[in-house]
C-alpha cells in the first residue's frame, strides 16, 4: 500500500447557518488519482479548502503528510498545490513573473527560482507566451499559468477543483494528461469534479459525497459495482441518500 498523503477524519464545517460538511472521512495516497465526486453544493470545494488550510474545521481533523492543518498550516501549504477553475492571474505581470512570484512565496530558494520556473515552463510547454503579460493571454494559457504556479515548488499533493469547467476540449485534455503524468511522478492527485466521465477514466479510487456526507468510497470499480458506468452508480447512490 502506498503512503497516506491526505487523511480526512470526521470533518465537519458550517458556513454561516449552512451545515456544509457532516462528518466526511477519506484517505488519499501518494501515486494515485483520488476522485472527490458529488453534485454541485455537495461540499467538495469546502473539503478541499479545509485540506489546504483556507478554512478551519469545526470538528474532525485533516492531516497532510503527517502535518495537522490546525497545528502546522504553513507546513501543509508547503506541501500542497491547488488548481481551480477560477484561474486568476496578475494581469500586469508576465506569465513567467506570475510563476516566479508564487515560487518565491512558496519558499523556493533564491538561487533556485529561475531554474525551477524555467523547468515548469518547459514542462507545460509555455515558452511561446512566458514573457507576455498575463492580461494578453487566452483562457487556456492562463490556466497553464495557474497550474505552473501551483506546482512550481514541486508539492507532493496536488488538488484540482473542477479544473476543466472553463476550458475547451484541447485545454481540458492537457489538464487530464497532466494529472496522469503527476500520478506517474508519485504525487497524490485529488481530483474534485462533478463530471463523472472524467473521473471514471482517471481516478484510481473515488469518494462520493452528497449533502455533506460520504455516500460511497472505494476503488472506481468497487463504487461502480454492478452498474454500467459510474454515472448510473452515482445516481443510484444519490437517490438512495435522499
Amino acid at each position: 500500500m502506498t503512503e497516506v498523503a491526505v487523511k480526512v477524519d470526521r470533518l465537519e464545517k458550517d458556513l454561516g447557518s449552512n451545515k456544509v460538511l457532516r462528518g466526511i472521512s477519506f484517505e488519499a495516497h501518494s501515486g494515485e488519482i483520488f476522485g472527490l465526486l458529488g453534485p454541485n453544493g455537495a461540499g467538495k470545494t469546502t473539503t478541499l479548502r479545509v485540506i489546504c488550510t483556507l478554512l478551519s474545521p469545526d470538528a474532525g481533523s485533516v492531516g497532510v503528510l503527517g502535518f495537522d492543518t490546525q497545528v502546522a498550516p504553513q507546513e501543509v501549504r508547503r506541501r500542497v498545490g491547488v488548481v481551480t477553475a477560477e484561474f486568476g492571474v496578475y494581469p500586469r505581470l508576465s506569465a513567467r513573473e506570475n510563476i516566479a512570484y508564487f515560487a518565491e512565496l512558496s519558499g523556493v530558494l533564491d538561487g533556485e527560482v529561475g531554474r525551477k520556473v524555467d523547468a515548469v515552463i518547459d514542462r507545460l510547454d509555455m515558452g511561446s507566451f512566458a514573457k507576455l503579460r498575463a492580461e494578453t493571454l487566452s483562457s487556456g494559457q492562463k490556466q497553464k499559468v495557474a497550474i505552473a504556479r501551483a506546482i512550481v515548488h514541486d508539492p507532493p499533493v496536488l488538488m484540482f477543483d473542477e479544473p476543466t469547467s472553463n476550458l475547451d476540449v484541447l485545454a481540458s485534455r492537457e489538464i487530464r494528461q497532466f494529472m496522469v503524468e503527476s500520478k506517474g511522478r508519485g504525487k497524490c492527485v485529488i481530483f474534485s469534479t462533478h463530471v463523472l466521465h472524467d473521473a471514471e477514466r482517471l481516478c484510481d479510487r473515488v469518494t462520493i459525497i452528497h449533502q455533506g456526507r460520504v455516500v460511497a468510497s472505494g476503488s472506481t470499480a468497487e463504487v461502480r459495482g454492478g452498474f454500467q458506468d459510474l454515472e448510473d452508480s452515482f445516481l443510484s447512490l444519490v437517490e438512495a441518500a435522499k
Partner: protein, 378 residues
C-alpha cells in the same frame, strides 16, 4: 528574501506598470503649478492693469498727474453716471463743491478703480492741506499729533506667503496622501479578490501578516511619493512666480528646512495611516468599484480638517485637539509654517495619534484579509 520583500517588490512592479495610477499622480503633480501660474498671472495683471475713469467738469490742477501715475486713464464723457454702468470703470463729476463718484460694486474692475480713486484723493487732499498750512506758516505735522512708526518684526510679504502656504500645503499633503495611493490600495486588496488571485496567494506558506505589510509598504510609498511630488512641484512653482502682492518686495513663497522636515514626517505618518485604512476598506469590498464606493466618504472627511485653517485662521486649540487624526497634522504643519518652529508636545501627540490610527486600521485589514466569511464570499 522575506515574504514581505517579495510582496513589496511585486506590488511596486505592478504599480509602475499601471498607467491609470501613474497618469493620475502625474496630473496631480502638474495641476498645482498650473493653477498657481494662472493665479499669479491674474493677480499680476490686476495689479498692473490700467482702468478708465470717465469724467465731466474741470479737473483740479495736478490731480490729472496723480491719476496717470496710479494706473487710471481719464476720459471725458457726457454722462459719467451712465458711462460707469458699462463704458468706463468709474464715473467722476468734478464740480466746484467737490467730486461725485459713480461706480458699480458688482464689477470687480469698478471696485479696484474706486480704491485707486480713494487713494489718489487722500494723497491729493493731504498735499493740498500741507501746502496751505505751510503758506500760512504752520507746521503741517500739527495734523498728525501722534505719529506712528511701524516696525514689522518679519516681512509682511513673507507672512502673507506663509499664511497662503499654511492653508494650501496641508490641503495638498492630505489629499495627495489619500488619493495618491488609493487606486493601488484598492487594486491590491479588492482587486486581488476580484481577479480571483486571493485564494492562491493565501495558499502559499508566506505569513499573512508579512504579505499584508508588503502591500501596505508599497501603497504607503506610492502615497508618500505622490504627496511629496505634488508639494515639491508646488514649491518649485511658488519659487518661480510672484503674485504681485507687494509694492517692491519680492512676493515669492518658500518652505523653511524645519517646516519641510515636519512636512515629510507627517507625510510618512499620513501615508501609512491612509494606506492601512484604504486597504482595510478594499479588503472588505468584493471588487474595485465597490472599494471606490467605500472610500468616497474619505474625501469629504479629510477635506473638513484641511479647511479649518482657512475658515478659522487663528484657531489655537488645546492639546486634546491634537488627538484628532488629520486635524492634528493640519495644525502641526500650520504652526511649523507660520511660526517656523515645532511645539514638541503637539507633535508627539499627533504622531502617537496617527500611529495608533494606522495600527488599528492595519489590524482591521489583517483580520478582514483572512476572514473565512470573506474568503468564501469571493
Amino acid at each position: 528574501m522575506s515574504s514581505l520583500a517579495i510582496v513589496f517588490r511585486k506590488e511596486i512592479r505592478e504599480i509602475l506598470r499601471d498607467r491609470r495610477t501613474l497618469i493620475a499622480i502625474g496630473l496631480a503633480v502638474l495641476a498645482t503649478p498650473t493653477v498657481l501660474f494662472v493665479i499669479s498671472q491674474v493677480s499680476t495683471r490686476t495689479a498692473t492693469q490700467t482702468y478708465t475713469a470717465g469724467y465731466s467738469g474741470d479737473i483740479p490742477a495736478g490731480l490729472d498727474v496723480l491719476f496717470g501715475a496710479t494706473g487710471l486713464r481719464l476720459e471725458r464723457v457726457d454722462d459719467p453716471a451712465a458711462a460707469a454702468k458699462r463704458q468706463v470703470d468709474i464715473g467722476l463729476v468734478f464740480t466746484p463743491a467737490g467730486i461725485d463718484e459713480y461706480y458699480d460694486p458688482s464689477r470687480q474692475s469698478a471696485q479696484i478703480a474706486d480704491i485707486r480713486v480713494q487713494t489718489i484723493l487722500a494723497k491729493y487732499d493731504a498735499a493740498k492741506i500741507a501746502a496751505s498750512l505751510q503758506q500760512k506758516g504752520v507746521d503741517p505735522s500739527v495734523l498728525n499729533p501722534l505719529p506712528v512708526s511701524v516696525h514689522p518684526l518679519s516681512s509682511p510679504v513673507k507672512a502673507a506667503g506663509n499664511s497662503f502656504l499654511s492653508f494650501f500645503l496641508p490641503y495638498i499633503l492630505i489629499t495627495m496622501s489619500l488619493t495618491g495611493g488609493l487606486s493601488a490600495a484598492l487594486d491590491t486588496s479588492a482587486g486581488e479578490r476580484e481577479r480571483r488571485t486571493l485564494e492562491s496567494l493565501l495558499l502559499t506558506p508566506a505569513p499573512r501578516g508579512q504579505v499584508l505589510i508588503g502591500k501596505l509598504l508599497a501603497v504607503s510609498l506610492l502615497s508618500l511619493v505622490a504627496a511629496i511630488a505634488a508639494i515639491g512641484s508646488m514649491l518649485i512653482a511658488l519659487s518661480q512666480i510672484s503674485f504681485g502682492l507687494s509694492g517692491g518686495e519680492d512676493a515669492r513663497v518658500s518652505l523653511t528646512p524645519l517646516a519641510a522636515a515636519v512636512m515629510v514626517w507627517l507625510a510618512v505618518l499620513l501615508a501609512a495611516s491612509f494606506s492601512s485604512l484604504t486597504i482595510a476598506l478594499g479588503t472588505l469590498a468584493r471588487n474595485f468599484r465597490q472599494g471606490q464606493a467605500y472610500a468616497t466618504p474619505l474625501y469629504f472627511i479629510t477635506i473638513f480638517p484641511a479647511s479649518i485653517v482657512l475658515f478659522i485662521p487663528d484657531f489655537n486649540p488645546s492639546l486634546a485637539y491634537y488627538l484628532i487624526p488629520i486635524l492634528n497634522a493640519v495644525l502641526v504643519l500650520r504652526d511649523a509654517i507660520m511660526h517656523n518652529g515645532v511645539a514638541w508636545g503637539p507633535l508627539i501627540v499627533t504622531s502617537a495619534s496617527l500611529l495608533l490610527t494606522g495600527g488599528l486600521c492595519f489590524y482591521a485589514a489583517l483580520r478582514l484579509f483572512t476572514r473565512e466569511a470573506l474568503l468564501v464570499r469571493s
